[in-house]
């Protein structure tokens, strides 16, 4: 009331103007939309000039939010003239019980492909993404990016209002303009209009584009997806006469060879692939078998880290390796062939492939050349693997496309296109550097941009329409295998965003199309029960694409000759694993999530090998100037073991300064060096060292285990000889203690982590952050070592620095039986619970930090500053993402992994209501639930035969630092690899206990 009282003395003219804005033909959808009108801006300028100055794209969140507060109260005032129908709960809606979350199945997009999700919603507020067990691409798992979807939904810097020439305008005005345009189009048959879409598999979008093309025969549709790779399409089109998409069955593969394919980290089917792959490598007793993975790669990936044999070669050399292996497979390898890693290596690999036969699988990397794909498919065909470990399906992302971004620019330049609608992508940022998109787009008469953010393209556009977030809209999407999911909203569009089908419908003359109706129309053949089932299950039954029978031609062509210059540096482009092409750059969770191998946060670096760094005299953080094709960038160096020599890996996605979170991050813009002809790798990179250095923030500073038995690992042969290899050469764990043992009448929770299964994908860390309201701290604080992740994945290198073994170890709290932290806390803030947890009581903690000093695992995290916003007025929409079941911690208190105690308690309450025991597997921790390889098992150790008890009974179960007598409840299963005993350097009986 006081706010309204405060604004009474406004001149009547202003109020009238505001009312006009509010009572226009198009009703305003949100208060914010109204608040962003020109009248309102003028009013703000007159009344609050200090704030008005900071209005345009202010990075000051606090001011922005204050202003929002003011604008909302004003808008409320104007709304008094028309009664708004608000219906309070007279009868409580069915299924909504305050405090009890609801779960909805939907699918999230990953480079256009769907991954099924089940989203937890608290009173209408989505807070957590889980995988959908029924969805083929998820199988219950998620990746790190999916976890962050709930945060980007509530990003206060998302575009909030349509903009016309950069000025806030109403959606009604946009529709008017579009109606005019549509009128003209109908007459000209779509002449001059182009759509630019990104990679999508949506059947609705496909159908809409199809009908638009029917309606406007001269309409042109282009696709720009900076992370799409065309090599597979080209190769299959050439081999089979039409583009086909391979899908792999790692569960059937005994021997896998990857040519630069990061199938565990990059491909749309990665979660399913990881699950299948890990299932074939699950060893609990000496009779178990394992698959074997060979990886030839041009930059270190988590797939390479999981390999039994990993060869790092320059990107241009992968083709040569593939040629040699194929030649060897056909019995034609001789010394004069192209150079493989070594002859011995090649023969051993080929023997393995031959033995495996149809259970072998050769996977080409999407970023490699079409010829590598042809070679790989030919090898699979020769081995008989096609139809067994490898299937071809119709491309799920097939769209009636007329060309790519270059073609669009060409069309604009020649004048055949004068209006364009950019639906999703941000070509001004992500285009190849040899394509002057800005110049071309500036010639357009009309440029409409639809997107989540007011990005570079939006700034150039005449019209910008805010997009609905994927948790806000209705759509449909195909998974990697073609399975369709209906995307349903978890919440009404927060900022009045529109869905892609809505925009396409506008073009077709449907101005007030309902989001849901547009999708429902695509699936009109489905009856209501079927529709509801599809929504509930998250998949449309039997919608997976059937495998296509192919016949492999004898002639697969020849490699494109390329002038290989041996002494030149090559450049390899990769997408940042979390930011992708930069679309997630404004997500603090993803910025601060350590990259799997480099452990870098808040920035990227130019990755070089130790030998190359030595040769060029480079050190970590040193700035180098990288030049290619007349463009150059400055980037800090990061030396990474396992990187091929003379190859610089640059990542895309950083260097973006739109959005206050993205602006905090360091790093360079990799797109600046990327050209149309060489999107993924190229030679002739010029590197000039500079004298300066730049900050590169990492969360792990030491990479070697220092001879300590931290990650214990052995080969399969060694495991068979000695299943208890984890005990070899390590001191026995002491058993005596001054304190009596704890007694457990009920459950005794415990966790087991299988290091053979862990691929280091970081999904668990991201899930933990989302579940437990873990704060992000920003680059400055992260550089000081103040990051807050409760769960971290340690990455160690072992062996030779040029060809290291890469080992991952997830480290949550160990929940020690004899916890060193418990005895030193002076205020009883960390205590042992009746069910074995080592609990942290936040409101008792006074912050002596003694517990952390005394924790040998250093898993405790301290709120050094106020990392969370507690003032509800300035906290902004992001506070809605918080899990209401978990306390938000304030400054000065210690926190750590709680084994997701809130989930335990929830299940216990349910079990008590139902008067039963908690079932085995009923309590699932957030990390466990997200894990694509099911490396984490959690449960009751008191229960005989529980999953976790079985895991801990495995012979290679060990506790980290057990000689300290902390008796951790979190234990590990030693990592078992399956190298080929015939390959030197990897003797078959190797074990490594530090």
């Amino acid at each position: 009331m006081s706010v309204i009282a405060d604004i009474k003395p406004f001149p009547a003219a202003d109020l009238a103007a505001l009312r006009r804005a509010a009572t226009g033909r198009e009703p305003w959808r949100s208060l914010d939309e109204l608040a962003d009108t020109a009248e309102f801006r003028r009013f703000v300028e007159e009344e609050f000039p200090a704030i008005a100055e900071r209005l345009p794209l202010s990075l000051d969140r606090r001011t922005l939010l204050k202003l929002m507060g003011a604008s909302l109260s004003l808008a409320g005032l104007t709304a008094c003239s028309e009664a708004e129908r608000i219906v309070p709960y007279v009868h409580q809606p069915e299924n909504v019980v305050p405090g009890k979350p609801l779960y909805y199945a939907t699918a999230l997009s990953s480079d256009g492909y769907g991954i099924g999700a089940v989203v937890e919603s608290h009173e209408g507020r989505p807070t957590k993404v889980e995988g959908n067990p029924d969805h083929p691409a998820s199988r219950g798992a998620t990746d790190a990016i999916m976890q962050a979807a709930v945060l980007s939904l509530f990003d206060p810097e998302r575009s909030r209002t349509p903009l016309k020439q950069g000025e806030p305008a109403s959606y009604g005005d946009f529709l008017k303009d579009m109606a005019k345009l549509a009128g003209g189009l109908a007459a000209s048959g779509g002449q001059g209009l182009a759509l630019l879409i990104e990679a999508t598999t949506s059947p609705t979008t496909k159908a809409q584009i199809g009908s638009l093309k029917q309606r406007y025969p001269r309409l042109r549709v282009y696709r720009h997806d900076p992370l799409a790779a065309s090599a597979n399409e080209q190769a299959t089109a050439k081999l089979f006469g039409r583009p086909l998409t391979p899908i792999y069955h790692f569960d059937r593969a005994d021997v896998v060879v990857s040519f630069d394919a990061d199938f565990l980290g990059e491909e749309p089917g990665r979660l399913a692939y990881a699950r299948d792959f890990a299932r074939r490598r699950r060893v609990r007793q000496s009779t178990d078998t394992m698959s074997r993975l060979y990886v030839v790669e041009s930059t270190p990936t988590i797939t390479g880290a999981a390999a039994d044999h990993r060869g790092a070669v320059k990107p241009s050399a992968v083709e040569g390796v593939a040629v040699a292996i194929k030649a060897a497979l056909e019995g034609g390898l001789h010394a004069a062939s192209l150079s493989p890693p070594s002859l011995e290596w090649t023969h051993a690999l080929v023997d393995d492939l031959r033995i495996a036969g149809r259970n072998a699988l050769v996977v080409p990397g999407p970023h490699q050349t079409p010829f590598v794909h042809a070679l790989a498919f030919a090898m699979n065909a020769r081995l008989g693997a096609v139809g067994n470990t490898l299937d071809f399906i119709e491309p799920p992302d097939a769209m009636p496309i007329d060309g790519d971004l270059a073609a669009l620019c060409q069309a604009i330049t020649t004048g055949s296109v004068d209006s364009a609608m950019v639906l999703g992508p941000n070509p001004l940022r992500t285009a190849p550097s040899d394509l002057d998109v800005r110049k071309a787009f500036s010639k357009l008469e009309l440029l409409v941009h639809w997107g989540l953010y007011r990005d570079e393209t939006a700034f150039l556009a005449q019209w910008h329409i805010p997009a609905a977030h994927e948790l806000e809209n209705w759509s449909d999407i195909r998974a990697y295998d073609g399975t369709v999911s209906i995307v349903q909203p978890l919440i009404q569009p927060l900022f009045g965003g529109k869905s892609l089908p809505q925009l396409l419908a506008v073009l077709g003359g449907e101005f007030n199309a309902d989001m849901q109706a547009l999708v429902r129309a695509t699936w009109a053949a489905m009856d209501e029960a079927g529709w509801r089932k599809a929504l509930r299950d998250g998949v449309v039954p039997n919608s997976a694409s059937a495998p296509v029978a192919v016949s492999m031609p004898a002639d697969i062509g020849a490699p494109k000759p390329h002038a290989s210059v041996a002494d030149r540096l090559e450049v390899r482009f990769v997408a940042d694993p979390w930011l992708r092409d930069g679309r997630n750059a404004n997500s603090p969770w993803l910025q601060e999530l350590p990259r799997p191998l480099s452990k870098l946060v808040w920035g990227n670096a130019a990755v070089v090998s130790p030998a190359t760094a030595q040769r060029l005299g480079l050190e970590n953080g040193q700035v180098v100037n990288l030049g290619r094709g007349g463009k150059d960038i400055d980037a800090p160096v990061w030396i990474m073991p396992g990187q091929p020599d003379d190859t610089v890996t640059l990542s895309l996605g950083f260097g973006r300064k739109i959005g206050s979170v993205a602006a905090l991050a360091g790093g360079y813009d990799g797109f600046a060096l990327r050209t149309t002809d060489a999107p993924w790798f190229a030679d002739s990179l010029m590197l000039t060292a500079r004298d300066s250095s730049a900050r590169v923030v990492t969360t792990q500073h030491h990479q070697a285990m220092e001879g300590r038995a931290i990650v214990r690992y052995a080969t399969l042969d060694a495991f068979r000889q000695n299943p208890h290899f984890v005990r070899e050469g390590v001191p026995p764990a002491p058993t005596e203690s001054l304190y009596p043992d704890w007694k457990y009448d009920q459950e005794a929770w415990g966790m087991s982590i299988d290091l053979s299964a862990c691929i280091g994908c970081m999904a668990c860390v991201s899930a933990c952050q989302a579940e437990n309201n873990i704060a992000t701290v920003g680059p400055d604080e992260a550089a000081l070592g103040h990051e807050m992740h409760w769960l971290r994945i340690d990455r160690y290198y072992a062996g030779a620095v040029d060809d290291p073994d890469i080992l991952f170890q997830p480290v949550p709290c160990m929940h020690c039986e004899k916890a060193p932290c418990e005895v030193v806390c002076p205020v009883n803030a960390t205590i042992h619970t009746h069910d074995g947890l080592n609990a942290q009581v936040y409101n008792r903690c006074i912050g002596t930090r003694y517990c952390s000093q005394n924790c040998p695992y250093k898993v405790r995290r301290f709120n050094f500053l106020e990392y969370q916003e507690f003032d509800k007025d300035s906290a902004g929409p992001q506070q809605a993402v918080h899990n209401p079941d978990v306390t938000v911690r304030s400054r000065g208190v210690m926190e750590k992994c709680s084994y997701c105690v809130q989930r335990i308690v929830e299940k216990r309450i349910r079990a008590q209501i139902e008067n039963r025991e908690i079932a085995d597997g009923e309590v699932v921790t957030a990390c466990q639930q997200a894990c694509p390889t099911q490396a984490i098992t959690f449960g009751d150790l008191n229960r005989k035969g529980s999953g976790v008890a079985r895991e801990k009974a495995a012979p290679h179960n060990y506790a980290l630092l057990e000689e300290l007598n902390t008796r951790p409840r979190t234990t590990y299963l030693g990592k078992i690899t399956n190298p080929n005993g015939l390959i030197a350097g990897k003797p078959g009986t190797e074990t490594g206990n530090g």
């Binding site: 070592g785 160690y796 205020v827 008792r844 006074i846 930090r849 952390s852 000093q853 050094f864």
Partner: protein, 459 residues
Amino acid sequence: MAEAVAARAEKAVPRAPVLRGRHDFPEISGRISAIVLQGRLPRFFWAAFFVCFAFVLLFLYSITYLISVGVGAYGINIPVAWGTMISSFVWWIGIGHAGTLISAVLLLLRQPWRASINRFAEAMTLFAVAMAGLYPILHLGRPWFFYWLLPLPNTHMHWPQWRSPLVWDFAAIATYATVSLLFWYMGLLPDLGVLRDRAKSRPAQLFYGILALGWRGSAFHWARYRTVYFLMAALATPLVVSVHSIVALDFTFAITPGYHSTIFPPYFVAGALLSGFAMVLTIAIPLRWAFAVEDLITLRHMENAAKLMIAAGMIVIYGYASEAFFAWYSGQPYERAMMAQRAVGPYAPLFWIMLFCNCIVLQLLWLRSVRLNMPILFSIALIINVGMWLERYVIVVTGPSRDYLPSSWGEQSLTWLDFGILFGSLGTFFALVFLFIRILPAITIFEVEELIEEKSGAA
């Protein structure tokens, strides 16, 4: 000429006298009380006081900043979550110890030379403990809840966790502060009586009169006084050992490499005496020069303090050696690696500077000429002060920065706030010393008079 002869004579005797020259009671009472009661103090006194006062303001600003922003403003992090607040705390506690040793232990051992330095040494203890007591509070993430360490029955249902050395620590420091204050005040009573009697102005008479608690100097008073003072001394003496031993247990009790060592309690006590006597010299040398009381605080005092320093210092060096030896002898890879990292790792410069200060420079004190040369002795005292601070810092940070899992290895940095609080507290400490000199007799009047009595009796 006469001075030169006297100096030569002084050098010739094996020990410098406790008092120099001829004195009588009124002269002593007058001279010592004049420092307090005379209206004007020399200009340098106030100049020095205001320099210190500027640091008091820095201290207040730093504390305000800390409380409003949070402990993240220090350089601490994970893994090294303790920093200068702990090392400075240990350092200040150590400084306090020399005062207690001088006043209580030497009293019980009937060492007459303590008489003219015990008062300011006790004051030094008190102020050092006051500074030390602030540090653990300023170290806390939520300093406003420091009282949760107390066993107070309250509605929070909060009770200390008695296994934690921090609780013992809290009790030890609180005991130490209380006993030191009482002991100091008890010792002041006769002198407060003197000041009351000699004060000319009414406010001063009232002020000292109230503080003197009706001291009249009767034989009864003296008899009671003696009994209580000796009892208090007997109470305070074990504290010299116990307080710092308990502080050392903060480290010993932890399993962190570099902390987990049973040598710490005795070695910390020796270190405390070393740094404490260094601080005594740091204060006494300028004091006796500035107030021309070289005949009361004589070279004998200075030399004895220096001798105690080298005695304590050699124990400390033994501590260093044994720490290193047992790290190796334990066979524990973690301890060994930590020790090696201490010598060659990121904190190695601090480690070697510390060894230079505390081991090499200390050896100069074997030379009598050095012990009797006040400028050199003063410099050595300062160097030892720095060295002892570094020792505590090296112990606090190197262990956790190189502990069990190399993935967590990391270093902390130091920020302006770390230094702001350290130097602010130093300034506050010296400002308190100045105020003390201004308000209370810095040299014990009656004990010096006793010395004169004994001396004349002996003559």
